[in-house]
Symmetry: C2
């Protein structure tokens, strides 16, 4: 194994073991190199890798206090990797649809139970623009925004992060499918708009079961509508 990977793994082990927590400062480069018996260049490379992943921030503080600290991974770091994973891993489309149904049924039900007025307004907002007969590209962005708003409204951060990552990974494949609809596009757009509207209404009414069921039906029916 290359030396920098060894350093990355030791840092990760300590995070998983709870001995390194958010805000903790890593030992200086020189000490870490001595502890792990690697070169200082390997430690520097490991720190750059961890920084690129959002696990640490370097150059925090100044003078003798300057150093590298463990940072809370931003949700963006996770959704970014999950998006790449979905794009590269070539998951069976049926598996992705099943995963979306499971996550988003749950998000929609949670949203019906918990959505704040502000979160509900964020769910409603893309619908206004969807009703104005947007083009396929705009529609796809509004559609993505709707599903993300529902996930956020559910209030479970971990479920929302997973939902958002998968929906964003689908943005491009869905756009491609919309582009291949030809003359069917206006009819499909009306149908998809109506389904989104019904989901919103069930969430607004606080009807958990109906919101979850409508979301699950919508994901399945979009798949059938859009499949080539």
């Amino acid at each position: 194994m290359r030396a920098y990977k060894h350093v990355v793994e030791r840092v990760e082990e300590q995070i998983l073991a709870g001995t390194l927590k958010v805000g903790d400062r890593l030992p200086p480069e020189r000490d870490l190199a001595a502890q792990l018996q690697v070169s200082r260049a390997a430690v520097r490379e490991a720190m750059r890798t961890l920084e690129a992943q959002g696990v640490v921030r370097s150059g925090v503080g100044s003078g003798p206090d300057a150093g590298t600290v463990v940072s809370a991974l931003p949700s963006e770091a996770l959704t970014r990797l999950l998006r790449l994973h979905v794009a590269l891993a070539n998951f069976a489309m049926d598996d992705v649809v099943a995963a979306r149904v499971m996550l988003e049924r749950s998000s929609a039900a949670l949203a019906a139970a918990h959505a704040s007025p502000a979160a509900l307004a964020a769910v409603a907002e893309p619908l206004q623009a969807m009703a104005a007969e947007p083009d396929r590209h705009e529609f796809n962005d509004l559609d993505t925004a709707f599903h993300i708003a529902v996930a956020e409204a559910g209030g479970n951060r971990l479920v929302a992060d997973m939902t958002i990552a998968i929906r964003e990974a689908m943005r491009l494949p869905i756009l491609r499918e919309l582009e291949q609809l030809g003359d069917r596009w206006p009819a499909v757009r009306s149908r998809l708009y109506a389904e989104h509207r019904a989901i919103h209404d069930a969430i607004a009414a606080g009807d958990e079961t109906r919101a979850g069921d409508l979301m699950a039906e919508h994901i399945h029916s979009s798949r059938r509508l859009l499949a080539p």
Copy 2:
């Protein structure tokens, strides 16, 4: 933004847009530096970052064909980041439990519908050792192995990857809780063993609803049993 991040983002955009696919070769360092108007050092640093994340492999081929190719992200890359994310992001424990219930109810039902004889044997295997009164550390490893085997038996790779990552992130917090049980440990161990056994039996019987319900109850009841 630092130059290497610019390079990383351009490569990721092309992957998400589908213009770079698994097995595609990236342009040589010199050309990429010229295209993106950054230094060759920045391109090298970006490649190291992408390689550390499993997005590309370098040094593929030899002579004039040597280069960096886009690789299928291994599941391990995703589960690793999700594990770190759960460890660092400090999700509310109720949110993690709700996410587990959702994912694992679905995995258990899928396993009841689809498990091959080999996958079912992998679910049964940790139970044998659990019955032999293992210590807390061994028990926790067997418990993790059981939940991973159920996720794998469900046959949905994306759902399994998410399930495994979250369960592995829980390995250490759960061990800590087991260690704090004091005299209650033998009783808790018997109870948890019986719950795992019942889930296995429902999966083996092909009863999707019962397998899903028992898994959901088990995750909730473990939480109550182990909570300090």
